[in-house]
Amino acid sequence: MKKKFIFLIIFFIAIFNYSFAIENNTKLENKISKNLRCLVCQGQSIYDSNSDFALSVKLIIKNKLKEGKSEKEIYEFFKSKYGEWILFDPEINKKTIFLWIFPIILFVFGGYLIFRKFFIK
C-alpha cells in the first residue's frame, strides 16, 4: 500500500507542475498548422516546416483567425485552394469512407470469429 501512495503522490506533484495557462489563439493557430501538409516538403506539416510556402500559409492562418474565421472554415479554404492533399485529417466522404470503416468492419468480423470459435455450441 505504501508504494501505491508514493506513486500517487509523485503523480500529483508532477501534474501540479504542468497546469499551464493557455493562450487561445496561438494554440488554435498551432493546431491548424499541424493539421495541414506542407506541400513542398517531404511529409512535414506546415507547423514543422520553415519553407516559404509554410511561412505564408502560417500567415494566412493568422490573418483568417483575426478575421474571426472558424477552424473549419480555414480548412475549407485551404481545401478549395489546394485540394484534399493538404489536409492531414481526411474528411469522411465517398472517397474515404472505406478508409474509416474498414478497421471497424474488421474488428466486428474478428469479434464474430472469436465468438464462434469459443461460444457457439
Binding site: K34, C41, G43, P90, L99, W100, F107, F118, I120
Partner: protein, 623 residues
C-alpha cells in the same frame, strides 16, 4: 579498389554456396539418417563467412574512401569522421541490404546450432525456406543494387552522406531494427517447415517462442531508437508522427506482440495452431513489404532518402513469390483444428489472450489502411489524400479504453475457466481512484471531458492493477514487468500529449521577449568551422513561469557535402519533463525561428520501452 573487388567476388561466391545449400538440403530430406549431413553445416559456415567478408570489404572501402566504388562515391566524403564513414556503409540502400543479408545468414547459422533437439526434416525445411530468402536477396543485390559497382575514371571526392543521417542514434538504428525484421524470417521459415512436417506442437512453440521474443525485443528497441532520433534531430519535437515509414516498422511489431500472446496458448493448451501460423507468415510479409515500401519510393515521407523504381518492382515480385509460396503451403498442409468450445469459457486465460490478438489486429488494420490507402486511392482514382495523426488518434484511442481494462484483468484469469466472483473491493477502489485522478487532470485542459477522463482512468486503472500484481506471488515476473512498462508507456504518452506546451517566434541576436509568462532572451551568437560543416551556435536564456532560469545552446549546422542545413536542438531532460529549444535559420536578415517546447514525461516514454523489452529479456531466465 582491392576491397571492392574482393567484396564483389565474395558475394558472388556466397550466391553459389547458397544454391549448393539449397540443393544439398533437398538431397538430405529423403535421406533416412537422423542427422543432418555435415556438409550442410560447412556450407552454412562458408556462406556466413563469405557474406561477412563481403560486408567487411564494404566497410573497409568506406573507411579508406575508395571512390572507385559507386556506393562509397554516392554516400561518403573524405572529410567525414571515421565513425560516420563506418556507419555510412549501412546508412545507404545497398549497404543496408547487405547488412540485412548478413543478419539473415547469421540467424540461419544460429538457428542451425540451437535447434539440434528438433526433428531433422523440420530443421532442413526451415533452412530451405531461409535459403529461398537468402538467394532472393543476394540476387537482388547482385543485379539491381550491387554495393560493389565500380566507377571509372575514379572521382577525387565523394558526394557525402546526408547530414541528418550523421548521428549516433541513426548509426545503430538500422542494425537493431534489422535484427528484429530478420528474426521474423526465422519465424516465417520455421512455421512453414513445421506445417509441412506436422510439427506444430508444444515443443515447436517453446522453441519458436525464443525467436519471437528476440525479434520483438530488437524491433521494439529499433523503433525506439528511430523515434528518439526523430525527436531530437528532425526538430518536430514530436516522437511519433504517424509517418508512413514509422508505421511500417510498427506493423510487424503489432504482429509480433500478438504472436507472443498466442504462442502461449499453443504452448500450454495446444490450441490456435493455424492462427499462430498465419500470424508468423504475416509478420515476415509485413517486414518485407516494409522494405519494399521504403525502398521503392512510392511513399511520401521524410524518411525516403534513396529510391529507384526498378528495385521496387524487384522487391514487389519477391514479396509476391513469398506470399504465394506461403499461401500454397498453408492450404496444402494445414489441418482443421478440433473445436475448442467444450473446454473453454468466457472468463479464461485463453479468451483473454485471444482478445489481445483481436485488438492487436485492429490496431494493425488501422495503421495498415492509413499507410496504404493514399497510394491505392491515387492509383485507382488519381485523387490525393493525406492521412495524418488525427486519423490514427480518432480510430485508435477509443479502442484503447477496453483494451487497457481487459489488459488489467487478463493476466489474473486461469486457464479454461475462471469463476466470476463478486467484484472485489480493491478493484472498485482502484477504479474510483483512477477516475478521480483523471477527472482532476482533465479539468486543467480543454479536452473532451468525458472521453478523456475515461481514457486516462483506464490507463491509471491498468497501472494500479499491474502494480498490485507484484504483490501476488506467481512466477511470471517478465510478464508483470512488461505490462507495468506498457501502462507507464501509455500514461506518459497521454500526459505528454495533453500537457505539452510550446511557442514559436522569430528573433534576432539581442532580442528579448515575453510569451505566455516565459521570458526568452537571445544572448549570444557565434560561428565555428568544423571538419565537414560550419556551425552557428546560438545561446538563449529562458526564465519560465516559476522563475527558473535555463540556458540553451541550439545550433544550426551548414554541411558542406552535400550542402544541407540541419538544426541541432538543445534539450534539457529531467525526470518530469524535457525542455526543448530549436532554432532555424530564416532568410539572411539575421532572424532565427525559435521554437521552445516543454514536454512532460518525455524520458518516461523511452524508459518504459526499455523496461518493456527488459521484461522480454527476463523471460529467457524463467524456469
Amino acid at each position: 579498389m582491392f576491397y571492392t573487388q574482393l567484396g564483389n567476388y565474395s558475394l558472388i561466391f556466397s550466391f553459389i554456396f547458397s544454391l549448393l545449400i539449397f540443393y544439398s538440403c533437398f538431397k538430405n530430406i529423403n535421406n533416412k539418417t537422423k542427422q543432418i549431413e555435415s556438409n550442410i553445416f560447412s556450407f552454412l559456415s562458408i556462406q556466413l563467412l563469405t557474406i561477412f567478408l563481403s560486408f567487411i570489404c564494404l566497410v573497409a572501402s568506406f573507411v579508406v574512401s575508395d571512390f572507385s566504388n559507386e556506393t562509397v562515391y554516392n554516400n561518403s566524403h573524405t572529410t567525414k569522421s571515421i565513425f560516420y564513414k563506418v556507419s555510412g556503409s549501412w546508412g545507404n540502400h545497398e549497404g543496408s541490404l547487405l547488412l540485412w543479408l548478413l543478419v539473415l545468414v547469421l540467424f540461419v547459422f544460429i538457428f542451425f546450432l540451437t535447434s539440434k533437439k528438433h526433428p531433422k526434416n523440420y530443421r532442413i525445411f526451415t533452412i530451405i525456406f531461409q535459403q529461398v530468402i537468402v538467394i532472393g536477396f543476394i540476387f537482388f543485390l547482385l543485379t539491381v543494387s550491387n554495393p560493389f559497382n565500380t566507377l571509372f575514371p575514379i572521382p577525387d571526392e565523394g558526394l557525402g552522406l546526408n547530414p541528418i543521417l550523421q548521428d549516433p542514434a541513426l548509426a545503430i538504428h538500422p542494425p537493431i531494427l534489422y535484427l528484429g525484421y530478420v528474426g521474423s524470417s526465422i519465424i516465417f521459415s520455421s512455421s512453414l517447415a513445421a506445417l509441412i512436417e506436422d510439427y506444430v506442437n508444444k515443443n515447436w512453440a517453446i522453441h519458436i517462442k525464443k525467436w519471437i521474443i528476440v525479434s520483438w525485443i530488437f524491433l521494439s528497441l529499433g523503433i525506439m531508437v528511430g523515434s528518439i532520433w526523430a525527436y531530437y534531430e528532425l526538430g518536430w519535437g514530436g516522437f511519433w508522427f504517424w509517418d508512413a515509414v514509422e508505421n511500417i516498422s510498427l506493423m510487424p511489431w503489432f504482429c509480433l506482440t500478438a504472436l507472443i500472446h498466442t504462442i502461449i496458448v499453443l504452448e500450454k493448451k495446444n490450441h490456435l495452431k493455424n492462427w499462430t501460423l498465419i500470424l508468423s507468415i504475416a509478420t515476415f510479409t509485413l517486414s518485407v513489404s516494409g522494405t519494399f515500401l521504403v525502398r521503392s519510393g512510392i511513399l511520401n515521407s521524410v524518411h525516403t532518402f534513396a529510391n529507384d523504381p526498378n528495385r521496387g518492382i524487384f522487391i514487389l515480385l519477391f514479396l509476391f513469390i513469398l506470399i504465394l509460396l506461403s499461401i500454397v503451403i498453408y492450404f496444402l498442409f494445414h489441418k482443421n483444428e478440433k473445436p475448442i468450445i467444450k473446454d473453454t469459457f468466457l472468463l479464461s486465460k485463453e479468451t483473454s489472450l485471444v482478445v489481445n490478438n483481436w485488438f492487436m489486429m485492429y490496431f494493425l488494420s488501422v495503421v495498415l489502411i492509413g499507410t496504404i490507402y493514399p497510394i491505392i486511392l491515387e492509383v485507382l482514382t488519381n485523387n490525393k489524400v493525406s492521412i495524418g495523426p488525427p486519423f490514427y488518434h480518432k480510430l485508435l484511442s477509443p479502442f484503447l479504453i477496453p483494451f487497457l481494462i481487459i489488459m488489467a484483468f487478463g493476466p489474473k484469469l486461469k486457464w479454461i475457466k475462471t469463476k466470476f466472483s463478486k467484484i472485489k473491493l480493491t478493484n472498485l477502489f482502484f477504479l474510483i481512484i483512477s477516475l478521480l485522478i483523471s477527472s482532476f487532470i482533465i479539468s486543467f485542459t480543454e479536452m473532451k471531458y468525458l472521453f478523456s477522463t475515461v481514457l486516462f482512468g483506464a490507463s491509471f486503472f491498468l497501472l494500479f492493477k499491474t502494480i498490485e500484481e507484484f504483490f501476488i506471488k506467481n512466477y511470471n515476473f517478465s510478464q508483470k514487468i512488461s505490462h507495468l512498462a506498457f501502462s507507464i508507456f501509455i500514461l506518459s504518452i497521454l500526459i505528454n500529449g495533453i500537457f505539452s506546451t510550446e511557442f514559436s517566434t522569430n528573433m534576432k541576436f539581442g532580442d528579448e521577449k515575453k510569451i505566455n509568462d516565459i521570458y526568452i532572451k537571445f544572448t549570444n551568437l557565434k560561428t565555428l568551422n568544423k571538419e565537414n560543416y560550419k556551425t552557428i551556435i546560438t545561446s538563449f536564456q529562458i526564465k519560465d513561469e516559476h522563475g527558473k532560469i535555463m540556458n540553451f545552446n541550439p545550433e544550426v549546422r551548414i554541411y558542406n557535402q552535400p550542402e544541407i542545413l540541419t538544426s541541432e536542438a538543445d534539450i534539457k531532460s529531467n525526470i518530469f519533463s524535457d525542455n526543448f529549444l530549436v532554432v532555424n535559420l530564416l532568410k539572411d536578415d539575421g532572424y532565427f525561428n525559435v521554437r521552445y517546447q516543454v514536454k512532460p514525461f518525455m524520458l518516461w516514454i523511452w524508459l518504459s520501452v526499455v523496461l518493456l523489452t527488459f521484461g522480454g529479456i527476463l523471460s529467457f531466465f524463467r524456469r
